[in-house]
Symmetry: C2
């Protein structure tokens, strides 16, 4: 009963088995893991003909920050990517790269958070892996989650489906995650009351089901923020997107910290937000559906899609001028997720 991770915990032998049994399986329960085989054997219902598959590794630093931690991120990030396909998230794999010396108590705190987030998101962790690297060859813990969800025939949004005239809806405020992690690093000597938005957005997407065929695009503006994600969509659909600055939800605190430090909230990461693109005719109904969903209370219509010979994202500023919103070029905030 060790207090910290040792190289032997990655041997694949008795120490690994004991760590899995005594620590990981204390938090993870599922039929897939219960089978104790090298691959989980999972049933697909007869009415399911398509699945969504997505993967993300998580390397955030620090491991804990206001509003979340690496475990919550690892679950929610993958769940939200499944939701962007209109899918119902079902199963996650969870693979851990642990650094020698990681306190088991820290690991358990992260697992507890993964367990809670997975319950909230109604997904099961069905298979796992545990590797250990020597001190100084990793950074505490890296977590990969890969997700599988069921796709319904009538609900298959995609980045290529934005059409001129469509409305662009955002499910809430921008910049919270990036600024929360930045402040948590403490390097800048800033104390701000900012929490990460890390959250699973199942309910928002579930409440879009009545509009299924009309939901053109769903995408979560994570690394690279709103600007980068909208540029990706503009590129895939070969359209222009125009945003109205005054309609874009942002908290006072995030705005203040961004201004003070020279960060752009439009390229700052979010971990609990969704961009929803739908035909103009239904935008008000869709907005209401989102607003009555958990994590969708602050949703707003933030812009529209217009025809353009080259993809572009424009911001109509509060001053009435236009600004081009470019994708984030390189790294401003490394290891944000």
């Amino acid at each position: 009963h060790h207090e910290a991770i040792m190289l032997g915990h990655g041997s694949g032998g008795a120490m690994t088995a004991e760590l899995i049994q005594r620590v990981f399986l204390k938090y993870f329960h599922s039929d897939g893991l219960q089978q104790k085989n090298d691959a989980a054997n999972l049933a697909i219902p007869d009415n399911i003909h398509r699945i969504a598959v997505t993967t993300d590794s998580h390397i955030v630093t620090p491991l804990f920050f206001p509003g979340g931690d690496i475990g919550r991120l690892a679950v929610c990030g993958t769940v939200n990517d499944l939701l962007t396909a209109g899918a119902t998230p079902k199963w996650l794999s969870a693979a851990f790269i642990l650094e020698e010396g990681l306190p088991i108590a820290v690991l358990e705190q992260i697992l507890e958070s993964m367990k809670k987030s997975a319950e909230e998101a109604q997904v099961e962790i069905v298979t796992g892996d545990t590797k250990v690297v020597e001190r100084g060859k990793g950074d505490g813990i890296f977590i990969n989650t890969t997700g599988i969800g069921y796709i319904a025939e009538n609900f298959q949004p995609g980045g290529e489906k934005a059409a001129p005239g469509d409305a662009v809806i955002l499910s809430g405020t921008i910049g919270d995650h990036g600024m929360a992690v930045l402040c948590a690093r403490g390097e800048l000597g800033i104390r701000a009351d900012i929490s990460s938005d890390a959250a699973p957005l199942n309910e928002i997407v579930r409440n879009l089901q009545p509009f299924a065929r009309s939901v053109h695009v769903l995408r979560d503006p994570t690394r690279g923020g709103l600007s980068t994600t909208l540029n990706e969509i503009a590129n895939q659909s070969q359209v222009g997107i125009e945003l109205d600055e005054k309609s874009i939800p942002i908290s006072k605190e995030v705005n203040a910290v961004c201004e003070m430090l020279g960060f752009d909230p439009y390229t700052t990461a979010n971990e609990g937000k969704m961009i929803i693109i739908v035909p103009d005719e239904i935008k008000q109904d869709v907005l209401l559906a989102i607003r009555r969903s958990k994590y969708g209370e602050n949703a707003a219509i933030i812009g529209r899609v217009f025809p353009n010979h080259s993809p572009i994202v424009l911001l109509q500023t509060n001053l009435g001028t236009h600004r081009i919103l470019d994708p984030l070029p390189g790294e401003l905030l490394p290891r944000i997720c």
Copy 2:
């Protein structure tokens, strides 16, 4: 056009997009990736009612060794875990944690190897992720692959299905991977002509299909080697397993290096071997089917399952004595896969 990985390649912005487009997508082609959405949208055939799901992160050092490299391992390891479920491997996710400073040329060499291994194993990489950690917070490259395969109703082996009287077959020699990586480290000043066995075992499992319902257990003896894996099976099935030392395939070189360095070949890792447990009546037919498969030429019947009140793995040695084969306790060779 950078020559080495920079933090900006993990931003999720333009530098990440360029790295994916110019480097990763040069090697990976699939419908899933072609969609350019956050999750791949994949069709499941009407006759498929179950899928296998498995995950492994790969942290091997050195990145290249005789017979393989981290890329080949990452593909084959996950493919073989799918095969242990009797599944037909179909799709992989691939998630990369790159250390700042990794030469792009090294990355490309690894991707080329993944591409070739995926072609050989007939799997497609359908979704990916790219993260970057600062110099000294990783070790060149870590790769997670998560795999999905189709399961046929009549072919569902499991570690819990070993039955007294069953024969234990091994698809080839033991210890090659572990000793190849150890020698490649060069720390021990040993030069041996040992190559890793890293390989996808699709053909072996395909050739078992005529015996489908009778294949009780399939498992790949990776970390922890033959001893650890057989102990897992003995535990799951609550049986004893007895091996006959003289029938267990091992190369002269591996045997010599193990003796010289005091390693036990029975707990040394393999990356291209399968344990196959079937009823005694069909063992010769199964053995022939395996021997005419790629990577199965040296297959042998190595032992049998017997009833026992507690799980145990016994070795009848060349000297006629019995030795208990225990699981590997802790770490002898860290970062072997």
